[in-house]
């Protein structure tokens, strides 16, 4: 198959959910860093204030608890659409160790291709499923930090209030790591931005 013919945009619910998630995650990262800085639990770490949102703790909390609705809403659109349309199975299955080893081998030989941008390779599948999992964990741990009394089961799973704060922090770190790799990949494969924007793709 020729490269140009298979450059198609992702379905609109996926694009909508993607950009809503970008906005929500951006706001929640920057405001969350300001909230963390109000009482950092790692003596070795705080976030530089110029990378935070909200100006002070109350402002950061207002941003954080406003953007959470956007994050949960776009998450429901993404997961709901993908399950109901069967796209989850189409895009993420099969997921095999052999496929992963082949992809890793290709990466090491600088040969991993992105010829068909609408079909994920195994590394992509794992990265996208991984960030979805990190988002589920960050929402679940966030619910415990926000409402430890109302979610007793989740609180127990997360290791009480203090444990949930740490899980929340490390899920954040995983999401930041994903975003860094993801943005580098978009720069290396700029056509992928077209599939997520519906700009300059075959209609």
């Amino acid at each position: 198959m020729a490269r140009r013919e298979i450059l198609r945009a992702h379905p609109w619910p996926v694009r909508l959910a993607h950009w809503a998630t970008v906005l929500a995650v951006g706001i929640m990262l920057a405001s969350g860093w300001r909230i963390y800085d109000a009482a950092p639990f790692y003596a070795w770490w705080h976030f530089p204030p110029q990378f935070t949102l909200g100006g002070w703790l109350a402002g950061a909390l207002m941003w954080h608890f406003a953007a959470m609705w956007l994050l949960v809403g776009s998450g429901l659109v993404y997961v709901g659409y993908n399950i109901l349309s069967g796209r989850f199975v189409r895009q993420f299955w099969p997921l095999s160790v052999g496929g992963l080893l082949r992809d890793v081998g290709d990466v090491l030989r600088l040969r991993l291709g992105h010829a068909d941008l609408n079909r994920y390779n195994t590394i992509q599948k794992l990265m996208y499923l991984g960030v979805v999992a990190a988002l589920v964990v960050i929402v679940a741990s966030g619910l415990v930090v926000w409402k430890p009394v109302q979610f007793p089961f989740l609180r127990m799973v997360m290791g009480d209030y203090g444990g949930a704060r740490q899980v929340h922090f490390w899920a954040m770190a995983a999401i930041v790591a994903f975003v860094l790799v993801h943005v580098v990949m978009v720069v290396l494969v700029p056509n992928s931005l077209r599939t997520m924007t519906n700009v300059g793709v075959k209609k």
């Binding site: 963390y36 002070w56 430890p148």
Partner: protein, 259 residues
């Protein structure tokens, strides 16, 4: 869990600086200070748009915060209890926190002190300390969660607020219970949370009368809400249907702040 070291700028934590600023600045400048909350800092995302609409964004955020009050009220389950802990898990020493430094803790004379009652209450007779101590008491070891994120486990004893409200003939169908304090602090809670079985008017900490730093002679201890909803040095209690706000709430902290 030990209270983690807070971020220090010139020896003062962020919250201390916020306190200083809101105490020192006149009302007009304080609004400019609040505008700081829309500064996007290093995040370039939509900076221009947001900065040029600072007041509109602040208005929107406050509206969402009020909407979140309602969402939290709907989520609040009056039967769900806050986790209780064994005494061996108590945080020692218990961290001090107020909107001023520990050197400014008010010294209240327990002999002259009386709890004034107001609003939608049938029997507005003021209560002195011995009569409050004579009421049935309860003790609990619970976690106090500060809005800053740190938390600490302590043991408080006192009168279940629901019992007290019924005893004074308060209208328990009213929306709010408000508190005024000797140090000028104010706060208020929703009636459903006021009637929660673990919400107490605390007279003791760790089995002894509240020390001044813990809010002598009377404080609210409500383990289903953030720490700043647990006013110390209470001077008055009132029941009302008009939104009373509070010291931190008026500055932008979420009013419901339920756990």
């Amino acid at each position: 869990m030990k209270k983690p070291p807070p971020l220090k700028i010139d020896g003062a934590s962020e919250r201390e600086i916020a306190r200083e600023v809101v105490t020192v600045l006149p009302e007009l400048t304080r609004r400019d200070f609040l505008k700081g909350l829309v500064t996007l800092g290093g995040l370039s995302l939509a900076t221009g748009v947001v900065l040029s609409n600072g007041a509109a964004v602040e208005k929107m955020l406050r509206a969402i915060s009020r909407w979140n009050d309602g969402a939290q009220g709907a989520l609040f389950d009056p039967k769900k209890l806050a986790q209780t802990y064994p005494e061996s898990m108590m945080t020692r020493p218990f961290p001090f926190n107020a909107f001023y430094g520990i050197e400014d803790v008010p010294v209240v004379d327990g002999k002259d002190w009386k709890l004034e009652l107001g609003g939608l209450v049938k029997d507005r007779k003021a209560w002195d300390l011995p009569s409050l101590r004579a009421l049935p008491q309860e003790e609990q070891v619970t976690r106090l969660v500060c809005v800053e994120g740190w938390s600490a486990i302590g043991k408080w004893g006192g009168i279940p607020l629901g019992d007290f409200l019924r005893r004074i003939g308060a209208d328990t169908t009213a929306k709010y219970v408000g508190f005024g304090c000797f140090d000028g602090y104010r706060s208020s809670i929703d009636m459903a949370s006021a009637l929660h079985p673990q919400t107490i008017l605390a007279l003791t900490y760790d089995g002894k009368p509240l020390p001044p730093r813990e809010g002598f002679p009377l404080r609210l201890r409500i383990p289903t809400k953030l720490g700043f909803k647990n006013p110390k040095h209470i001077a008055s209690l009132y029941v009302t249907n008009s939104y009373p706000g509070g010291y931190w709430e008026d500055q932008g902290y979420n009013w419901f702040s339920g756990l």
